[in-house]
């Protein structure tokens, strides 16, 4: 695998937008991991005396309506955003792989049954579904993650199923069967490696969508509960106090935009780099 990962790396590095995306994503990850060391203040520390202070040397991004340091809240918000997005897409991706492989490789009736489930799931209006679940379970970060997982599984599973179906009829799978390969071997050694790469790309491009969703639901007070710092919460606070401090909305918007761009660039570059045939073309 070494030479191959090196090739992928090289192809990735050859793409300037990919490099940029990588750098952005990496800085957010560093921000999230080392938030306590990077953030200049405690994000929850209230200092009403200095509320709505604009950017200053003491508070680079200013403070909010309770005088909390915005930069620190953004840095801790990255933790929430990436934590929610990565957990949710990760779990949904794994479930999608499992269900998609079963649907694509398994017997026809099971495929039909699973497709029926996926379709009924996708036919529910997402916001209504989210509202229903949140009403039952109460708004919290956990509920938010659960909702995101539930709504994203059908898409991933369908994606994996479609890829599996096209691979199942290919010669190399038939060749495996002609050598007596068991179903497990076919699935784990030959189907999985060929579908997982493409899904990784989809997942990395979905992370910004989930970050947006988390921000959106938190903005609607249905997601991460205040005072936990989340970009959505900051955006909401900024919206409420738009008159007093118009800068807050912008400050909360920038990381959202950056994260979206970063993950999208990285995902696109990853898609090109992971395709061995595409790689060959760039080399010859």
């Amino acid at each position: 695998m070494a030479s191959r990962s090196r090739n992928v790396w090289r192809a990735l590095m050859a793409e300037p937008l990919g490099v940029m995306g990588g750098v952005i994503v990496l800085s957010f990850v560093v921000m999230a991991l080392f938030a306590p060391w990077i953030a200049p203040y405690d994000p929850l520390k209230i200092d009403v005396m200095h509320k709505f202070s604009g950017p200053s040397l003491a508070h680079w991004a200013g403070t909010d309506q309770l005088g909390r340091d915005l930069l620190s809240r953004i840095i801790y918000g990255a933790r929430t955003a990436l934590g929610v997005a990565m957990t949710a897409t990760g779990v949904a991706g794994l479930a999608g792989i499992l269900l998609g492989l079963i649907a694509g490789y398994g017997p026809r009736w099971l495929d039909s049954l699973l497709i029926l489930c996926f379709d009924s799931m996708t036919s529910l209006p997402m916001i209504m579904f989210a509202l229903a679940v949140i009403t039952v379970l109460g708004p919290s970060t956990g509920t938010l993650i659960l909702v995101i997982i539930l709504v994203s599984i059908p898409g991933y599973a369908r994606f994996i199923r479609a890829q599996t179906l096209s691979l199942v009829r290919s010669d190399f799978i038939l060749a495996e069967k002609a050598m007596n390969a068991s179903h497990w071997r076919v699935i784990l050694l030959h189907l999985l490696p060929n579908v997982v790469g493409q899904l990784l790309v989809v997942l990395s491009m979905d992370i910004p969508v989930v970050i947006m969703l988390e921000a959106g639901l938190s903005y609607l007070s249905l997601g991460v509960k205040p005072p936990t710092p989340s970009w959505g919460n900051i955006l909401y606070d900024g919206y409420v106090s738009l008159r007093q401090s118009p800068g807050m909305v912008i400050v909360a918007g920038i990381p959202l935009i950056l994260a979206t761009l970063g993950f999208t660039f990285l995902g696109e570059a990853l898609r090109d780099a992971l395709d061995p045939r595409l790689q060959l073309r760039t080399l010859t």
């Binding site: 190399f172 038939l174 007596n180």
Partner: protein, 339 residues
Amino acid sequence: MSALYEVDNVSLDLAAPAAGLQRLLPGVAPRMTILSNLSLSVGQGEMLGLVGESGSGKSTLARAMMGLVDITSGSLRFEGQPVKTRSDFVKVRQGAALMFQDAVASLSPRRKVAAQVVEPFQINGVPLPEGPSTATAMLERVGLSPALAQRYPHELSGGQARRVSVARALALNPKLVIADEPTAGLDVSVQAEILNLMTGLRRDLGLSFLIITHNLAVVRHVTDRVAVLYLGRMAEWGPTRAVFSHPYHPYTKSLIAAEPQADPRKRRANLALKGEIPSVLARPPGCEFHTRCPIARPCCAAEEPAPRMITPDRMVRCHFAAETEQRISGGRHGTELEH
């Protein structure tokens, strides 16, 4: 020569792509016959050629022999044992190997050559005969550099990929190798190399080969016997030399006549066979070849010809085989196709 793999009276039907409401009515859905009452046997240490145009069912037969598609009726026997159940096919797949037409596509795209050639051992729980260097030894046996072991399938040339699939086919010391178009898409000199490799293996290891191809030149040089398939039915079979020098079936004759000549002095004035192989969905009644046959008469459309044994080792299915036989034994070689 005793039979290694016998295919006896095998038929294979598939559900035809049904239109609209037809699909909902069970029993009404049309079936298409891919193989029909096909009999064939590969002898021990024999090289048998199976020829026919695309759509004649050659590849389907190969897959049915390996249990990759189910036959509708008839029977299969491998080494004298009937092959019916899943566990029978497990045994067949240990004693016989299938090489696919598209060698690159038959290798798993994200695994290295080294991992792929030793797969038959791992799958069938056989210890690697030469330990960790087995892959290298296997590649060397088919004339490949061990350095190729570290490559991915898409990094191989057509000839190299073909050799890798030969190496993998030989892993478990099979008795039979079924090779589907082993030379398709290769340069002439590489074609010759692959054929030499196969004939060498047969000589050294006593392997049997079933070579499926539409390239008559390949069949002519390396096979002992040849079987001609048309629209899922056997048209003719017999010793290669005899079939090529005196084809009885007009289809065999046309195939031989259609072969391009690499010699401008032997240019044919007219190229025999008109039209295309019919679809299995619209199988002609009677003799299925009558729609393109240069010697067809009204009875051909009405009646199916019965298999006829010209000699104990030659079969032909044509109403006029007897006439052709007379002509051949009378010393006049069938020339009606050339005019």
